[in-house]
Homo-oligomer: 352 residues x 4
């Protein structure tokens, strides 16, 4: 059994981790920390866990995280990087659900997150946690910076068009003018007392936000460049707040180059993802819906080419709390510990 600790379990990614890990056959959750809630049973805050998770929140000191095999950080940005060194000294593997180990460029990190990176050396060795792209590196990693929710949907939605594995090095699309029109449920905003995501504000309403620039933009661009193996990537990324709890739907628009005009993109995608347990390339003409992955680690993709023109439209759905966060974490953990990748992640989506 893998002994797992969770730092900061009072948010949505925290409770989702608990839901998944409590049902994981190879995991024993040994500690979950929260300074503010120390002493409180987890199931008191999250009644959905009553009878299934008996832990109490503890202070970080009591948690003895150094004795864990793996520690998940379900914390605000900046926490994981402060504790990473100590944990690594004790051979604890680290999975960070926040952004501390995502952006490789410390200047970019400082610019978008407003804090200096405190351990650039660990950042240098950290692996970006997106198993479908980085599987082998994750297997060997000591520190994984798990991919963000939007970035997961955009990168997996575009990888077959950019990766030399499937393109053979040809430029199939105009990589400088990619558009991602992304929509997220409110759980992506986290479990925070804020007016903007009150039901009274966000329900029966739809709006874009952060059009000027969202923190996930540099992460996606970095990821797409890595996938493509070159730097000719430009992205317009517009996130929207949708009146639902879970789910991300990214609608991706790319312009085909001359070189890309004669390919069968349905086949390209099916071939690229044929062995991926969590990626479902839907039949041609499909419209994936977010509820079809609600509560599951699946991601579904459909490819359209309206009117046979030079614009390709790719539709991608995921559950932002599972494949976009905690499920991704468990998937990476499985890889890091040599387990079958789907262990503990076989939940079927709850629909309706």
């Amino acid at each position: 059994m893998i002994k797992v600790g969770i730092v900061g379990g009072t948010g949505y990614t925290g409770v989702e981790l608990l839901r998944l890990l409590a049902q994981h056959p190879e995991v024993k959750i040994v500690a979950i920390t929260s300074r503010t809630e120390a002493g409180i049973p987890v199931a008191e805050m999250f009644p959905s866990l009553r009878g299934r998770v008996d832990l109490k929140f503890t202070t970080p000191d009591e948690a003895k995280l150094n004795e864990c095999d793996a520690v998940f950080f379900a914390t605000p940005h900046g926490v994981a990087m402060a504790q990473a060194k100590e944990l690594l000294t004790h051979n604890v593997k680290i999975l960070d659900l926040a952004a501390d180990f995502r952006l490789k460029d410390v200047k970019e990190f400082a610019k978008w997150y407003g804090i200096e990176h405190s351990c650039p050396d660990i950042l240098a060795e950290a692996v970006y946690g997106l198993a479908e792209i980085n599987r082998e590196a994750i297997k060997k990693a000591r520190v994984v910076g798990l991919a963000g929710c939007y970035p997961t949907s955009v990168q997996l939605g575009l990888a077959p068009l950019l990766s030399p594995k499937s393109t053979g090095g040809k430029q199939l699309i105009d990589g400088n003018h990619i558009i991602s029109d992304s929509k997220s449920g409110t759980s992506g905003a986290g479990r925070k007392a804020e007016i903007g995501t009150l039901l009274s504000e966000a329900s029966d309403n739809f709006k874009a936000y952060s059009v000027k620039g969202h923190r996930h933009l540099p992460e996606i661009v970095q990821g797409l460049k890595a996938i493509a193996g070159h730097d000719q990537i430009g992205l317009t990324f517009v996130p929207h707040l949708t009146p639902m709890v879970r789910g991300i739907h990214s609608t991706l628009y790319v312009r085909l180059t001359e070189a890309g005009k004669d390919l069968d993109y349905q086949k390209l995608y099916e071939s690229f993802y044929q062995n991926e347990p969590f990626v479902d390339v839907m039949p041609s003409g499909s419209h994936p819906e977010t509820r079809s992955v609600r509560g599951s680690n699946g991601i579904r993709i459909a490819i359209h080419r309206p009117g046979g023109g030079d614009t390709l439209v790719i539709l991608v759905v995921e559950d932002n709390l599972v494949k976009g966060a905690s499920g991704q974490g468990v998937q990476c953990m499985n890889l890091m510990f040599g387990l079958p990748e789907t262990t503990g992640l076989t939940q079927i989506a709850v629909s309706p």
Copy 2:
């Protein structure tokens, strides 16, 4: 492995059965029937099942239901009773999610459902499928008429106040004046093309319905009488349509008798349900919420006595598609086949 057939799998209880049974370690789903959808892959209608359920809908003839060990009916009222005799001849156990085998009085059945009962003899042997009340009978049953969604919440919410097991035969409450103010999500209305449950109609809206008389009223009254062991039961039952997908919340009001005034009802409930794996009596002062059981087979109950007066308020939540329908069916099936009652039903609620 139990070979299971499902008749009529195109509704919400059908797809929910598939979700649960596809993850059940002791079940093999061998057939799912739908005359209108025969030949269509189940996962085409329900994309949430893509990659997990490979069956196609078949006609009842092709389905060879006679070779099954158990057949679930997820059909409109009247279908199960037409096929029951034939199946029993072949030693197939029957679990009906509709109302054909719920009401013991054929006149009541005809009155509320508008059709004559076609097999009163089978009805006579059928067992009411509410495991917490009827466990031993279900174990031996050939035919189980699964309890309805509202009736499950009301009966389990009131059983400790009425059952001689806990009352010792005393009349603790005025059984003639029970009030159940119940609220259901729209999935309770089924997957039917109707205007009243369109999102445009039912969203951001709240209303009562069928105040004059709902089909679950006679079922609940029959059940409460059976639990109480007497006929002094009168119920005012008002169902409401709530703008959510899953979940039932029943708010029950009972008046305490003189004999009932000095009891500790928190203890009474905790004692009554102490060994039940799916019933959670919450701590005193709790307010259970429907999402705390979303997607799970759990039922949560809280007991209040506002102002210490003579009115007891019992709050009950369940997922109408799980504990109120398909999960209840799997629970009963487990009992009928000698399996541990929780087999395949250990999903933790998806929350948020």
Copy 3:
């Protein structure tokens, strides 16, 4: 034109007052105050008012409230009573949307609101703002404590059964055992940064709250006693949080006495409310829905007697922000200034 000031306009009752008053033909809004938002245009916080309300929030000092004809308090409890004396000195009429002038018993006020009442003398002269019950008194009032949202629905739902005007002094119901099972949208909780009413928490969910005791309980009981003209009133009041923005649905249960068993309650209600412009007694057998009054000052009521028994079920819907708050305020203001009661309140409900 009536010169109106609004104190504390940053909440939902504030913006709703602005919506109504900006369209009121006899009103000029001269000031709206908010210490925290002073200097900010109202339409910046509430874009729905862009192009329609040009005011900026001001500090109370700048607002020159003493020069107004009327001042609305859309503030937390405790603010209106601190400023009332000064305003009255300047002959400004006061309408308080909070609870400062609702409860006549200062001990009850202190018990439920946790603060001592600072001006019992003004409280003594204040009139309870529920026009259908208190019309004549409101016309002459200098200070009106507007009825709360739940209390409006419960009192208007029960008045015909209790008021000597319609009962002729007979006890038609068991007044000691009234049950109000009430459901509210989340806007009733106000525009406050809180976790419990986030869309991620409150959406696709249903729960009761404050079953132990809600602040509206003493207000309702006081009101029912006043209507009945006696003290034999006992109420079990259970509020529920519903996943919608606006709307209250109260389901009221009363037990008929022998004296009450032979009346035609449909007629009783129709007669009682026949001249009320905002109260709609629906046809027998109706199920009013909250959206039928969304955005309007209407209240709709239906009366049921299931099975012809001795329990009467009354269904009441209102928009908590209009008839339950700001519309009620405008209605009372109209009365106080001798205007036709419906002036500025003729909006038709927005449905769907």
Copy 4:
């Protein structure tokens, strides 16, 4: 008073017309037709109209539409064109909310709507009902084919970039590669008994639909060509179904040409719409939200240029039932009868 008839008032655009026209100071609604509902009071089907609209549905024969001054068609496609000639003979002005008089090319009409156009001559004289673009023509029109919901948002969102009035004839954008990622509430699908828009299906869910080709695509392209005065227009249009009742949010992406790179688009838009009563160009950096126009005839637009690059992002919100349908109809009617354009359309958005 303008005598108005409504053909087919049982859908959402019908009830919305009634809401608006019943409050219109210069209109008398004389008839509303529905074959299936003839004899039924309108307020029985739409309780929100109780006490405000006393009409019953009538058969078309009884309705004496020929005696009206104007007739609105809130019908399925194909109905208006069958009745237009007769009405015109009697000097009745026609406003069609369906698509019969939108597409000027009868082949396109037949291709997208599956029926032949029955009166090409009337189609030829019909004016496209989008007042901000076609004001003068509408004033003189006998027949107006009102702009569709999506087309209104896309055309008004792009007009300042295409119209020679503001561009001075320069090509500011690459008109051949416009992208409209549009999101609609479910009321856009109409009041029809369908599974796909049940609350149980569409709630807590998000999906694209009709990516292959939506009927509004040719309408938008026709409109943009007319605005631009040339044919170099290519559009990728992807509509999405959003879990809310009312509202459309179109996110528009255009690529600037060299000629377009140095303009101030905020000013361009503000200038273009400076005299429009219903179009609100929001301050730079804004994110309009659909609820800010809920129930009102307003349309709000914000312009973004992320990172100062060559992609312009325009955000547009409207209420699909008001500015996208019935409000648009009233606005055009006002013009046709020489009334101030805002008459009866001064509702402030209901928010929250």
